[in-house]
């Protein structure tokens, strides 16, 4: 079977690329070894940094950090990619922005982290300042401490209180996923338990576990019934908001007609000079061969599986693109900014800065030059480069 676009990796970058390609009318296949880094991330999508206006920061990067993925894409296209994704998600997993500024979203540690695009459950954090907040925990859920979160909010000028609900839930050890599935069915209990207490506060904050399948309705219904904004605070992974986003995107991709092969990595390629003809997938028995006109490499960074570090070398295993490990002033973590080098079309470059394959385009965390954990630009880079890769894949290898 031959496809217009073969997307390797189903993370935020790969799925953005697949969606854009599908909307442009291409025949798309998405191949992924497994789930992605969104399952760990907070579910809010970062653009850049903290206090500085993120768009101003992005502009600054364009000139100051030519290796940063944003510098390859340019502000206008980054904005376009964000609008595109928000549009695609509008009905299935809506995201909102706060007039071009970062929002400080509460964390489970009782602090706040900056982010840019927020899902419904996190958006009310925009106007948290000076509010009376009720932080709701669940006594059997040991990953979230409502008192700790409330004390953090108090120290930042909110009037927060904590309460723990006893769930009639017989799982002794439950994590975010267990609870999310539980609340898919049992969310009405929350209204019953909180109706009275909620009257004295301006808003309620929960750990982000309020449903996986039913989450849009649950959030809406809770806000309606309690008459207050409801905030979901990201938790220790697995991240329920991240899973919702990932599943929503995948469903959208399938709905748009892409074939999705998940659970098996791409192990090798067939190439002719600087053109890739097809890839082999490591399926049981015989590898499966998939042909395509263009290929989007979005296999993630070290954690995602795109970059493999062994005792002796650092490799990108699918195409064998050389991986740069920039010498890092910050010695805390030598691989913080490691990744592939690409040109402005996101084609991978070899050691001499020559294009390795003309019809391969790289997107997401596999690219080097940035450190999402400290810079808060992981999702933004994935969306922007995924979108750009789709545009370039559509233009072909010309």
């Amino acid at each position: 079977m031959k496809y217009d676009v073969v997307v390797i990796g189903a993370g935020l970058a790969g799925m953005t690329a697949a969606l854009k390609s599908l909307i442009e009318g291409r025949r798309v296949v998405v191949i992924a070894a497994g789930e992605n880094t969104l399952y760990y991330a907070s579910g809010s999508l970062d653009l850049y940094g903290g206090k500085e206006n993120p768009w101003a920061a992005v502009k600054r990067l364009e000139s100051e950090r030519p290796d940063h993925p944003y510098a390859l894409i340019g502000t206008a296209l980054i904005e376009e990619s964000f609008r595109f994704l928000m549009g695609e998600l509008e009905t299935v997993c809506p995201y909102q922005e706060n007039s071009g500024e970062n929002v400080w979203v509460p964390t489970s540690l009782g602090g706040f982290r900056p982010s840019y695009l927020l899902p419904n459950g996190q958006f009310p954090a925009v106007s948290l300042k000076k509010k009376k907040v009720l932080v709701v925990g669940f006594s059997s859920y040991r990953d979230f401490n409502s008192r700790l979160v409330a004390s953090g909010m108090v120290s930042r000028g909110c009037e927060a209180r904590a309460i723990d609900l006893d769930l009639h839930y017989d799982k002794i050890n439950c994590n975010s996923i267990d609870l999310a599935y539980y609340f898919d069915d049992h969310w009405p209990d929350l209204i019953k338990s909180l109706q009275e207490t909620a009257k004295d506060v301006d808003c309620l904050a929960f750990p982000a576990v309020l449903g996986l399948n039913n989450f849009l309705d649950i959030h809406q219904n809770l806000q309606d019934a309690l008459g207050r904004p409801v905030i979901e605070i990201p938790t220790l992974p697995p991240s329920v908001p991240g899973i919702r986003l990932s599943r929503a995107m995948l469903a959208r991709i399938q709905q748009q007609g892409a074939e999705v092969i998940k659970g098996f990595p791409v192990i090798s390629t067939r190439v002719s000079d600087d053109i890739c003809l097809g890839v082999y997938i490591d399926t049981p028995g015989h590898p499966r061969y998939v042909e395509g006109d263009s290929f989007i490499l979005a296999t993630g960074g070290i954690l995602g599986g795109g970059i493999v570090v062994s005792e002796k070398s650092v490799d990108e295993k699918v195409f064998g693109v050389p991986v740069e490990v920039p010498v890092n002033e910050n010695q805390e973590y030598p691989y913080a900014r490691c990744g592939l080098k690409a040109n402005k079309r996101l084609q991978p470059l070899d050691k001499d800065r020559k294009v390795l394959y003309r019809n391969v385009f790289c997107a997401g965390r596999i690219l080097g030059g940035y450190d999402p954990d400290l810079e808060h630009d992981g999702a933004g880079a994935a969306i922007a480069t995924g979108y750009k890769a789709a545009l370039e894949a559509g233009r072909g290898d010309s």
């Binding site: 903290g50 000028g157 220790l236 992974p237 954990d373 400290l374």
Partner: protein, 510 residues
């Protein structure tokens, strides 16, 4: 400014296995005692050792008296310290190219010493221990080695002693020794958590500070001649062997694997260093060990490494001026009565092994008891030590759980917190094994911190600080083995704590 004063019979300096064993022995003989440890129990060589309860075979050729001593102590500990020991048994393996002459000499001495050694056929050995590199193995012998958990063993001694009235102060450092005339009177110590200093008055002071013994002696103006050898160990993510496996040749680097509950340790090296605080392994050491390990074990360097660490072996080189006066009780260790240095009531104990700690304690306390006029004989060879908190590897999926890798339950943590000398997360981790499995605390440290906060043992600020320390320490423990699965694990932890929980910078104000 010295506020409180504590009075006791014997002040023991050092909460390693030697100090803990001494405290237990003193307590059993009814002698009032206090132990001071600068960090947490087993912070020194004890917590950084290989955990091999020697059956003696390793020392046969070098010193068969030491070998016999190990074998005897091994058997005693198996009966009194069951909770800390897994009687794994051991193999000695002759690898291609190893000197057959050594093997013959070794066998001969084993017979003479009475240590039970038996040759088994290679096929049986490989079936039992599939990690052995079949193509390289020449001969295999079974030996009476066992695995001991040094944390558990130390904690059991401390717990037993405190149950009998002894006192343990952790996170407390000896700053000065108090000496009037020729007589030791005690020490000035500092509580490192509160920063407060106070004095402890004692009739006798025992210096069991391991590699730091010289610096303690120096506080009395006494020079102890010591050399330091750094030994590095590699911890693998799972139990790769059922039993202890030794290379049958003149002891060298990287030639033993010791199982330690759910993990196992490859070691070790011996590199001269100048100070007992020189604790960093180097990448070259690790590579070298893995290469040597590969001669005996298949694909060893592909196995996931959780962390590496190093410990210091102190070597007492004797008293140059007056060697004869050292009361050398055994060739493996030395008990030094500093009367000879004109300080009465002050004793140092240096050298030895984990395996022989009980014997060391016995011989030291014999001297101390004689000095104090106490007639009660040593009882440590017969008295069973209390059970440890964690104990053997378990699966407890139906209990409220904090650490899933090591199955540490909420109750385990709470029990650990109740112990009088448990003052910090390090000690909790050593007592319970929380966070010592493959995820290296990525998930359970968070849960433990939440629980400690919930139980009001720590403040909100301490939550943040503990997590920061944890992440920094994680980075240190794996910085020389940052590859493969463990690197991915590190990146996951980094993402969770720096990205999701914004732990890194303070710029999280609104």
């Amino acid at each position: 400014m010295i506020s409180v004063t504590i009075k006791t019979g014997v002040l023991v300096i050092g909460g390693g296995i030697t100090g803990a064993g001494i405290l237990w022995d003193l307590a059993l003989r009814g002698i009032d005692a206090v132990l001071i440890e600068q960090k947490e129990p087993a912070y020194g060589a004890t917590g950084r050792c290989h955990g091999l309860l020697h059956g003696g075979c390793r020392y046969l050729v070098k010193d068969s008296a030491v070998a016999a001593e190990c074998y005897r102590e091994n058997k005693i500990l198996q009966s009194v310290a069951k909770g800390a020991i897994e009687n794994t048994g051991g193999y000695f393996v002759q690898v291609k190219g190893d000197d057959p002459g050594y093997v013959e000499q070794w066998l001969n001495l084993a017979g003479k010493t009475g240590i039970p050694v038996k040759e088994i056929d290679i096929q049986t050995a490989i079936k039992e221990e599939p990690l052995l590199a079949v193509q390289n193995i020449e001969r295999v012998f079974t030996v009476p080695d066992a695995a001991v958990d040094p944390f558990d063993l130390t904690l059991m001694n401390l717990t037993g002693a405190t149950q009998r009235g002894a006192k343990v102060f952790t996170n407390t450092r000896v700053e000065e020794l108090i000496i009037t005339g020729n007589q030791i009177r005690g020490a000035v110590v500092k509580d490192l958590a509160s920063g407060e200093s106070y004095s402890i008055h004692a009739d006798i002071v025992v210096n069991a500070a391991g590699a730091w013994a010289a610096s303690i002696a120096a506080k009395a103006g006494i020079r102890l001649n010591m050399k330091y050898g750094k030994g590095t160990l590699v911890v693998f993510a799972q139990r790769l062997t059922k039993r202890v496996i030794n290379r049958l040749r003149k002891p060298g680097d990287g030639d033993i694997i010791v199982p330690a509950k759910s993990v196992c340790l490859l070691g070790t090296t011996d590199i001269p260093v100048s100070s007992p605080d020189d604790l960093d392994p180097t990448a070259a050491e690790i590579t070298k060990m893995l290469n040597i390990g590969e001669e005996m074990f298949d694909h060893l360097s592909e196995k996931r490494i959780l962390r590496t660490f190093a410990g210091i072996r102190p070597l007492y080189t004797g008293d140059n001026n007056n060697g004869e006066q050292n009361r050398e009780i055994s060739r493996g260790f030395a008990v030094i009565n500093h009367e000879k240095d004109a300080v009465d009531g002050f004793y140092s104990i240096v050298g030895g092994k984990l395996t022989t700690y009980r014997l060391m304690a016995e011989q030291l306390v014999d001297v101390v008891a004689e000095k104090l006029g106490v007639k009660n004989p040593c009882q440590t060879a017969e008295t069973v030590l209390p059970q440890p908190v964690a104990g053997q590897v378990k699966l407890a999926v139906e209990e409220p759980m904090l650490c899933e890798c090591e199955q540490v339950t909420v109750q385990d943590l709470e029990r650990a917190c109740e112990l009088p000398f448990c003052r910090d997360l390090h000690t909790i981790r050593k007592i319970t094994r929380l966070g010592l499995g493959p995820c290296q605390g990525t998930f359970c440290i968070w849960r433990a911190v939440m629980l400690l906060y919930e139980n009001q043992r720590i403040s909100a600020a301490e939550c943040r600080q503990l997590l920061q320390e944890f992440l920094a320490e994680r980075g240190k423990g794996s910085c020389f083995t940052l590859w493969g699965d463990q690197l991915k694990q590190y990146e996951l932890a980094r993402g969770i704590y720096l990205n999701n929980f914004q732990l890194g910078d303070a710029a999280d104000e609104i």
